[in-house]
């Protein structure tokens, strides 16, 4: 089944060596994005398709810009306004775009496993830019880059991931990525928003006590994902009570702590404006890192076929199903 194509479908596709290499490559791109001519010829003549089934500001713009900075030809397709509106299936859309023989397909989709199916149905390298509540690996890589840049290290950094873990692909990718790089992860939030079984599955610590954030070097705040919550679920009684209990405000943040958020933020819910706009917030650093880390991921997929571990979900886990 493994045809040698490398994909980045989830954080289980990479190991610590891969991550080190990608972060190093990203650091090398720092100066490219600030100079006058912000372009390198690395991916000249290559084609990158961005296929976005969900709304996105950061991820779609940074992937598009990353590909352009590398001189690739870029086609961006958004589900709204495309044949998806006419009921075209994911398979048919992927097969259609595959006919243009792209080198890389970047896909965001509201459903889990969409990127895996894209890898199955296309001949391209596939990057998962978020599949439902499952994985968002480039977010984890850019978060690692941000932490390393600010704190100077990754190993033994204490991170509290706070809030709506249940609906968060960012949390799932970061738990894996952070643990791979030796960070110490605690999940903090109301019980109904911490998925049952996550301790068993990952070995993280779990707390419903907001005070446990005080132990952390990094408070990683998750967005309350209203759009993924069905009415009547009552994960929390009210957003007001959530904000008062688990919301991160300036009183909560201790000296020396930094705060991260994958965006978009619900100001006044999971994060208070006085934190979001302060010097402890790394939110803009994350966005900056997003561009160069995505450049590094595209570069890595195209240019390092024999170095490091092959990025291929199927080979790594042997779990690629028959269907």
């Amino acid at each position: 089944m493994n045809d040698g194509r490398r994909h980045l479908l989830g954080m289980s596709d990479v190991d610590d060596t891969d991550i080190e290499r990608i972060l190093e490559t990203a650091a090398g791109f720092e100066d490219v994005v600030v100079r006058d001519v912000k372009k390198v010829p690395t991916l000249r003549g290559r084609t990158v398709v961005n296929l976005f089934y969900e709304s996105s500001t950061r991820t779609s713009s940074s992937f598009e810009l990353a590909a352009k900075r590398l001189s690739a030809d870029v086609v961006s397709v958004k589900a709204a306004g495309s044949s998806v509106d006419k009921g075209e299936s994911l398979k048919d859309t992927v097969r259609t775009l595959n006919a243009y023989k792209p080198n890389i397909i970047v896909i965001r989709h509201p459903q889990i496993g969409a990127a895996h199916l894209t890898a199955k149905w296309s001949d391209a390298h596939v990057v998962n830019a978020g599949d439902g509540k499952h994985q968002h690996p480039t977010q984890s890589l850019l978060d690692l880059y941000t932490i390393k840049k600010r704190l100077g290290r990754l190993k033994d950094v204490k991170v509290a991931i706070v809030g709506d873990v249940l609906h968060s692909r960012v949390a799932r990718s970061n738990i894996e990525g952070f643990q791979m790089m030796g960070l110490d992860v605690t999940l903090v939030g109301p019980p109904a928003l911490i998925p049952p079984g996550i301790e068993e599955a990952t070995g993280v610590k779990v707390s419903d006590d907001p005070e446990s954030m005080s132990e952390a070097d990094v408070i990683y705040v998750l967005r309350m994902q209203h759009e993924r919550m069905e009415p009547g679920q009552n994960f929390v009684p009210t957003l007001r009570e959530y904000a008062r209990t688990w919301g991160v405000n300036s009183r909560r943040v201790k000296p020396g702590q930094v705060v991260m958020h994958p965006g978009p933020m619900n100001r006044g819910v999971e994060i208070a404006p006085d934190v979001a706009d302060s010097g402890v917030s790394l939110v803009e650093d994350q966005v900056e890192a997003g561009l160069i880390v995505r450049m590094a991921v595209l570069y890595d997929l195209m240019n390092r076929p024999s170095i490091g571990t092959v990025i291929d979900f199927r080979e790594r886990t042997g779990e690629w199903g028959a269907a």
Binding site: I112, H134, R169, P196, G197, G321, A323
Partner: protein, 446 residues
Amino acid sequence: MTRLEMIPADKATVVITGARLLDPVEGLDVTAELLIVDGVVAQIGDSVERPEGARIVDGSRCTVLPGLVDPHVHLRVPGQEYKEDCATGSASGAAGGYTTILSMPNTAPTIDTGTTLEAALDRAREMAVIQTGFLAAVSTDRAGESLTEMRDLAARGAAGFTDDGSPIASARLMRRALQYARPLDLPIALHEEEPTLTKGGHMHEGAISAKLGLGAWPGIAETLMVARDIRLAEQEDARIHLQHISIRESIEEIAKGRERGVRVSSEASPHHLVLTDASVRTLSGNFKMNPPLASDDDRQALIDGLRDGIIDCIATDHAPHAVHEKEVPFEAAAFGVTGLETALPVLIQELVEPGHVPLATILRAMTEGPCNAFDLERPALRVGAPANLAIWDLEQTWKVGDKPFKSKSANSCFIGRKVKGRCLLTISGGQLSHDEMDAKGLGVVA
């Protein structure tokens, strides 16, 4: 006895020679010849008659088993014949050694009136190659609001009642159904799922769902309803049959109910007996079913329950779906998997060979159990019994998916797996329903 239908065809005269005849319920395990005349097992012995024109089948190195009975099949008739129909579904059953199947009423339209039931039975009479019965819905449109005309449906041949695919959420409607069905002496088959706990779920809740992020429901969603319905059946002195049980605590509730004398039968599916939620990590739609694959601890409890007789039926919940309904992201995939053609071979490979469950226990749960639960005539290797049997090469190992499915759909969760035991020839009601005798003795095909 419940009315079952199949094509009225020529009843073959057959002599099977040299085969092992195995029917644990009859206490039969001999190597002998078996003669079928006029749809009936006419003789069993060292040397039976050979009537003129009889087909002589060389059964050496083969085993004749009684026809299997599946009380839980979705033939998709009426209205969803793009997934399956009476011909393909019954042929699929025959290929798995089944001679009797019961089909569910979650169709389009729902089988909730006498005329719809009659139409479905007529269809089976025209097209089915094995004996085929239907359950009718408990509630109109399976909407859980008003009872169907259960007396009329019973008079027209319903094998029982079920809203399968959906739970009966209202305890009041459940109670009324039990009260009304009691004098009919037909079981109500129950899909146990507490709907407010399962809403938005696609798999079993646990470490795997936490990691994948898939919406999940807790095992207790099944157990709560099992406990409720056993108590209601006890209070109303009614018969219930619990479908596709998947959770350890549900089995404990059934055992307790049995001890108190509640008339409750229960089934487990091959996929719940063999697989766990770990399979969902593939994100393949072929591992999406309702109830979902549960934990390994639950699976162990099911195996123990089967061995101890708490689980008295094995049912496939054969649920065919078209490719475009399964080859989509997991959350968009339809619930259900096919199972008729793989059931016994999977169980022999996974439960009998490793010594977890004796073959005799499995055969009882695939013949006697469902027949007791639904008052069906039990296929038996006995002189005078209707010829409902199959010839198996129990030594043959093959890989699921290597030979084409007889079912119209191929959404099997066992594709690619090695299984043991191949059904070579099936006779249902004296009629030849499946014939693959040329595949005999192939040995390891996988």
